[in-house]
Symmetry: C2
Subunit: 378 residues, 2 copies
């Protein structure tokens, strides 16, 4: 059985004052209207009685719970915890606590969870699991709950967002592999219901066309989720299409890891036969061979920026409609010059590492290669 908490009333009785006076004495903004003597006495008694304001009562009265919601696809996914820490780095010092929920990419679940957050009267929500047409987000908007999406955005809405520069990230990757000599480049696209999957694909297409590659559509495989398994499946699919692909831009690191696994299963090496790139720069990535070339996104900073925006919204101050954070290429070992030569089929000559073209079509599966090296016992 729990001990009864001390309330303002208890303090009031102990101090021989009215509760409202005690309330004022304990409220930094109201202290000015109370004599110093009383303030000191009340504060002393409060401390001594181990008083802790009841936030539920406070919230009921003021309609502010000092609690926010953080909606994630899955906290187990390594890219989200840093976002959460970023959010809390700004919210916690301001007195907010966070209810964290995981949608597991289920829209139904998402709506249930948002309902739950609403029921608890959250003052605002950070949404890292948004889909392009996010019903739950619109529901929050409808109820006037301040909302910022982070990492992903909601299309055709005025919902403020903090996202990464997907287009620039893809462009940097494309420039990198192009510079290495690759001319036939494939894409493992992420779920098209998410802004990340969608915009990265878009950027891949635009970047391809900018380089004179109009046939890129044939070289896209669509992942249903940002998972290892889907990466594997998509890579197998690409291999089965028997195109002369020498580089694969995966929509994120997890897909890339799966893709490399599939290559290995087909006796192809990365980067010997096929170069592969990721997106996000997950922790520990540099330790997994071949160390993945990827694009680094600043998750902590994104979370912090989103929280700053949310603070403004919660205070009814004007806030940005959106922030796009810069990203940067991290070139590692999973990309290298294509096997044999760089091919070119009508493009302008490239400045970097572009050897004279080799006209013949070449299936990607033609050369035997070393397998992954990590699991043999010494």
């Amino acid at each position: 059985m729990r001990k009864k908490r001390t309330t303002l009333k208890d303090i009031a009785e102990a101090a021989g004052l009215h509760v409202s006076t005690v309330s004022r004495a304990l409220d930094p903004n109201m202290r000015q209207f109370i004599s110093d003597e009383v303030v000191n006495r009340v504060v002393a008694i409060a401390r001594q009685m181990d008083y802790r304001p009841n936030r539920m009562a406070h919230g009921l009265r003021t309609n502010r719970s000092m609690t926010t919601g953080i909606v994630l696809p899955d906290i187990s996914n390594v890219i989200f915890p840093p976002i959460v820490r970023g959010v809390e780095s700004v919210l916690e010092p301001r007195g907010y606590a966070s209810l964290i929920v995981n949608t597991d990419n289920s829209e139904r679940r998402k709506e249930r969870l948002v309902d739950m957050l609403l029921a608890r009267g959250v003052d605002g929500v950070i949404h890292a699991a948004a889909s392009l047409d996010d019903r739950a987000a619109l529901e929050l908007e409808k109820h006037g709950v301040p909302l910022v999406t982070v990492n992903r955005s909601v299309e055709n809405s005025s919902i403020p967002y903090v996202v990464n520069d997907e287009a620039d990230g893809i462009e940097q990757l494309m420039a990198h592999v192009h510079g290495l000599g690759h001319r036939v480049i494939a894409h493992i696209a992420g779920p098209q219901g998410t802004s990340t999957g969608y915009h990265r694909l878009l950027a891949f297409g635009e970047s391809s066309e900018r380089r004179g590659d109009l046939g890129w559509r044939n070289r896209v495989a669509y992942a249903g989720a940002f998972t290892h398994e889907e990466g594997r499946r998509c890579m197998s699919e690409l291999i089965a299409r028997d195109l002369p692909v020498t580089a694969v831009i995966a929509a994120n690191d997890t897909l890339a890891l799966g893709a490399i696994e599939a290559l290995r299963a087909h006796d192809l090496s990365c980067p010997g036969d096929v170069s592969v790139t990721g997106f996000n720069d997950m922790p520990f990535l540099e330790l997994i061979p071949p160390a993945l070339t990827t694009v680094r996104i600043e998750q902590f900073a994104a979370g912090a920026a989103a929280a700053e925006m949310l603070l403004k919204l919660m205070a009814d101050e004007p806030a940005d409609t959106g922030v796009v954070l810069p990203v940067r290429l991290v070139a590692r070992a999973s990309t290298a010059a294509p096997p044999d030569q760089a091919r070119s089929a009508g493009e302008e000559p490239q400045p970097v590492a572009a050897e004279p073209a080799d006209a013949g079509e070449r299936a990607p599966a033609q050369r035997r290669s070393r397998r992954g090296s990590s699991s043999s016992r010494a």
Copy 2:
């Protein structure tokens, strides 16, 4: 500005009933006292008006917030998210939401955060960041807030816990390396203020002595935290002691990874010169060469078990005083037979792989070896 929520009063007016009647009609446990006709009407109106019970008001009245706290060292540490998911897998279906806080291993911070949880009236707390003498946990106990520690335990207290079988895990690792022929085994001990660090060291000592090794104390390096850097530092320290160590039992995976890095920096190979083991079996570990031999703990199950206990405590039902979950050895590539021969100095002959002893003392740094293989570009 937020739209006003519909309240019981709104429904009461719309239905021409009293709020208390509406309250009963909406409460599954009170429905029985209300006529079906009214129940149906109320439910219909509630749905139509998008009614959502105000949990703050409910909590204020009933003294139950339907919210629990989860205290972690750091959600960014990959072993904790699965625990959280395990907890929520049982709590969420029962209507609880969770406030997650990160202590960053600071006792001061921990107390502040527990204060914050108390202020929000959490119905119970899952504590995964307990220290052996945890003031914050005792504070919670004092206030009568149901509490279960998970992963770690609090010494000399009656606080219920869910932990892993540290002793058995260490024993399995010791049996494994001993079986491979290792006789001079070191330990990188975790922080001695945590039950994991403390009990693993204890188990290392007992297991050593059971095998006739009484000199193990000289082969222990103490890490101040479960970090990569500390693992590196401790391994360097062990190397500097110039003992004929051929195997190192690190208190967890992160320390082990740091240790392997230090070996590499000293031109020693793992497992060629020194075998290294971890504890926890973090995700992706099998992909990082040399794949670490470790002990797998069931984090999700631990979280779920802790939550089950918490549910009982919150319902004032009798609960276990503690649960010890079994662990299991995962042998991978970071352990192998010692270089040259297995040494033995007075122990009984070992059944597995124990070659005749080599009498000479041998410094661990004597043989040059291959370096880590992950970062070369093709």
